[in-house]
Symmetry: C2
Subunit: 362 residues, 2 copies
DNA sequence: CTGAAAGCGCTTACAG
DNA sequence: CTGAAAGCGCTTACAG
């Protein structure tokens, strides 16, 4: 109701000028009273602070930041709409890692969703001192903007080939390694559930996005047993990184002409979705069908059976990326930083030997 | 190495003045070219945009925000250090709800950790248009600062008694309701695992914090069977909202003189921690001991047995709080908004009847 | 359609 | 120890 009025009220905040006038000192003195007490007399300071307290003056953070040319905040660019991004525990761990560093340095962490569907706009307008991006085959346009703005940035799970600091695991090797486990159990009929190309991905031919690297790792392992991603017994599907879509994918898999004996996913949350759906529909895991994940999120030990997966230290990724970013914010040159952090394949119970097929015995 | 130099480079960003000079138009025209094309001629605009593109000019978001007196970001005040906060799936759901609304309105979401241990400092300095707080019996000091700054704010899981917009469930009723379920199964020996008093909580006697309200609900149900929180068979403990601390709490419980038949927790993540620990140490759930949670996070259906708990729609809480906040940011008066959203008690398998005690038969 | 100028609320060399 | 003044990079009435 009192729309206009309450807007007006907002503008009544006292400014440094009011305090200067009321206290009888200069703006300079008032500023020093708050920021550098040593520069003025004890009494002066007390008097200034007194009138400030009395009329409820708090220096405007926006004006300070503008004057100081910094925000005390770093940005995290969300690759998808928030609804998807923040449902993925892996992402949350990354955010936690970044957040810990922010807290350490007294910074805030700004989550930046695509602005009216435009990541470009979001990057142009972000009021931050630096940016962390994730899972992107960075569009050149976005990189350009960050450079134009002289905004330091580091990318997680991005393509390390670009001219920018990055932190990754060796996705190709990790994928190879877990696929070998799957093949060692005798599986030859499988579906690979890939990640959707995220918003940053272009269809470039020099593609080194995470899904591509992992597929390359799978392919290498498959090759060792005479298979490839094109083999008829190797199906490829794509699932959003949510429990729901994982379930949906499992549903699709059960509808397949020839049912696979293994599902190889690129994310635990999808793998767990598959387990939940299949368990609910009477399949035994890994008795009827084996499932492996990727990430080793906390939840992977909660499901039954517990997930065989690849451990990647998500919080560490965020932590290290943030540390590099802060070094850049402080003027250090880290353009060439390419962090590869170790992965581990974790053997638990969701992967088992190929079930004997009764229909295959004559 | 080139520390000083790269700092200098940073300052070379072109400003609106450069574009004005280079294009031969005024600052006004340049500003309009970017913000209100109708105010200048087509050709003018094109020329200005051309030189802007050529030398890579992007209007400084900080300066714009300062001039426009807004940030296009809302803040979420983290009640604890990030390490704890962001590990709790419940909290993540709340953030997701808030984030969805931010995305909808083209805002960013600023996560604000306690600044060098001081929430007060963090609130003074936060560069945001509004604030959402969670789980706080709000310190008067913090409220004062938000008011002084004329910063609209709404609180989730806070005490609705304060003069501020809030969104809650009826914690007293919810706790009463789940405790009745526990008692109905015959449990009389139990431990109640409460939430830690969060950073915002004062020890005030008019305490209406969430843990207190819930305890009141428990007490009411206990009273109906002649028990109270002070009864010798009713133990109270406190656990941090993390899986680890949940496990630790379960450990402590196994060391108790007389082992309870039920554990009543105030958060699923703690309940799951208990289940994991007890399961690992050979206890059957609910055969030997029953456990109930609170929140109904996604993970509560992943554990075995699945959790009996109270469903509170965490994402909705965030969503609705953010919607109210945006109305306030747009000048609406929502001071009296007190949202109570519905809860449901969810019966699954982690709660069972009291086990027969062999040692009690003569 | 266009521009000169004031203003947003701070900080900080610089001079006294 | 203190203050007048310039400056941060924009926006926007206002006048032409």
């Amino acid at each position: 109701m009192a729309t206009a009025r309450s807007k007006d009220a907002k503008d009544k905040r006292p400014t440094i000028n009011d305090i200067a006038r009321l206290s009888g000192y200069s703006k300079t003195a008032v500023s020093f009273a708050f920021n550098d007490p040593t520069r003025i007399g004890q009494k002066t300071r007390e008097q200034i602070l007194a009138v400030a307290a009395q009329i409820g003056y708090i220096p405007d953070p926006m004006a300070r930041n503008f004057s100081l040319r910094r925000h005390r905040s770093i940005g995290f660019l969300l690759p998808q709409i928030i609804h998807y991004t923040l449902r993925n525990p892996y992402m949350m761990q990354v955010i936690q890692g970044i957040g810990s560093v922010c807290q350490k340095y007294g910074y805030t962490l700004t989550l930046i969703p695509p602005l009216n569907e435009s990541i470009t706009e979001a990057v142009r307008n972000a009021a931050v001192d630096g940016l962390i991006t994730i899972g992107m085959k960075v569009e050149m346009e976005i990189v350009d903007i960050m450079r134009q703005r002289k905004l330091p940035f580091v990318t997680i799970d991005g393509t390390p080939s670009q001219m920018m600091p990055s932190v990754n695991i060796d996705d190709e090797a990790a994928a190879y390694s877990i696929m070998r486990q799957v093949l060692a159990e005798g599986h030859r009929d499988m579906v690979i559930v890939s990640l959707p190309d995220d918003a940053f991905t272009t269809g470039a031919s020099d593609d080194t996005s995470v899904p591509t690297l992992r597929k390359r790792g799978y392919e290498r392992a498959l090759g060792e047993v005479g298979l490839s991603l094109e083999s008829p017994s190797v199906e490829t599907m794509v699932s959003e990184c949510t429990l729901e879509d994982g379930k949906h994918t499992a549903h699709l898999i059960t509808k397949l002409k020839t049912r696979p004996t293994a599902i190889v996913t690129m994310s635990d949350i999808v793998a767990i979705g598959c387990i939940l759906y299949l368990d609910e529909h009477g399949y035994s895991i890994p008795g009827d069908i084996s499932i492996v994940g990727f990430d080793n999120i906390q939840e992977s030990v909660l499901v039954t059976p517990r997930l065989t997966t690849v451990d990647q230290p998500a919080a560490d990724k965020g932590y290290m990326a943030a540390e590099v970013l802060f070094r850049m914010i402080n003027g250090e040159d880290c353009e060439d930083t390419r962090l590869i952090i170790p992965y581990r394949t974790i053997i638990r119970n969701s992967l088992g030997p190929v079930p004997e097929r009764l229909d295959e015995t004559p």
